[in-house]
């Protein structure tokens, strides 16, 4: 009776968690780029 929507649940949470971690990584990378940029 209760439909099995587990797959969609995993998809939904994965998207959000990947997004959050992805943004965090982008911050890390951008910070690193600033620290290690070669200046003329």
């Amino acid at each position: 009776m209760t439909p099995d929507t587990t797959a969609y649940m995993i998809a939904g949470f994965s998207v959000i968690l990947i997004g959050v971690i992805g943004y965090m990584l982008s911050l890390v990378v951008r910070n690193w780029m600033i620290n290690h940029r070669q200046r003329k």
């Binding site: 099995d4 969609y8 939904g12 998207v15 910070n31």
Partner: protein
């Protein structure tokens, strides 16, 4: 030569990061395990906790961006420009997560990837508005002008949102879209038990901490980028004068 003073990593930020990570993990457990399974929709309903929390975080970002944009126009302090950009960037990310997760949630329940739900549709339009904001920034070279023009646009974008929502709402009321046999009015037509409510509220709390951490980090990043840009501009000016 690197003449930018690297500010030491503040302890408070480290504490905030850890708190945010921990509460996010707890919220995840509460959403996946602690909260009971909803009978009509099944497990996919659990996405709702993080879906709404993402929307909340996105709105926090946009709201902060509008406030700092107004403050910038009144004071001219360039720090506020960084604050606006940070808010909009975070807003874009989390609103996108909200829209995508909303679509995933809708698929098994209403058998369609997109319901013309006024809230989700408005969120999508907000994405377009603030993507345009980022593009606008890219098109202006002078930092002061860029800050001013993008602040004005951020404000305009924000104030049209209620009207956008209203217009879609009226449209849907007059022309209801029928999915799977029943009119789709909103995304959350289920009753929350107390455990669900706790999971929901804690998700909001966890995401708020997450927002604070991200925002603080993004501010630091933006301020340093601003410093570098100012230095490079000065350097270019000095070279031109020679």
């Amino acid at each position: 030569m690197d003449s930018i003073t690297k500010k030491p990593f503040p302890r408070a930020l480290l504490v905030l990061d850890i708190l945010a990570a921990v509460s996010l993990a707890v919220a995840l457990w509460m959403a996946l395990v602690y909260a009971p399974r909803e009978l009509v929709m099944g497990d996919v309903q659990r996405v709702f906790y993080f879906h709404v929390a993402s929307a909340w975080t996105g709105m926090l970002g946009y709201l902060l961006a509008v406030i700092t944009s107004i403050a910038f126009l009144r004071t001219g302090k360039m720090n506020l420009d960084v604050a606006s950009l940070a808010g909009i960037e975070i807003g874009l990310v989390f609103t996108a997560l909200c829209v995508i997760s909303g679509s995933i949630w809708a698929r098994p329940i209403w058998n369609t990837w997109w319901t013309w739900d006024p809230r989700l549709t408005t969120a999508f339009i907000m994405e377009l508005i603030y993507a345009a904001y980022l593009l606008l920034r890219r098109g202006v070279e002078d930092p002061a002008q860029r800050a001013r023009l993008s602040a004005v646009y951020a404000i305009i974008g924000f104030i049209t949102v209620p009207l956008t929502f209203l217009s879609i709402r009226i449209f849907r009321t007059i022309h209801p879209v029928i999915f799977g046999g029943e009119a789709s009015v909103g995304s959350s037509n289920f009753v929350m038990s107390s455990q669900m409510l706790q999971a929901f509220l804690f998700s909001l709390f966890a995401f708020t901490l997450l927002f604070a951490a991200f925002y603080w980090h993004r501010l630091r990043l933006g301020l340093r980028q601003q410093q570098i840009e100012a230095i490079e501009l000065q350097r270019r000016q000095d070279e031109e004068e020679e």
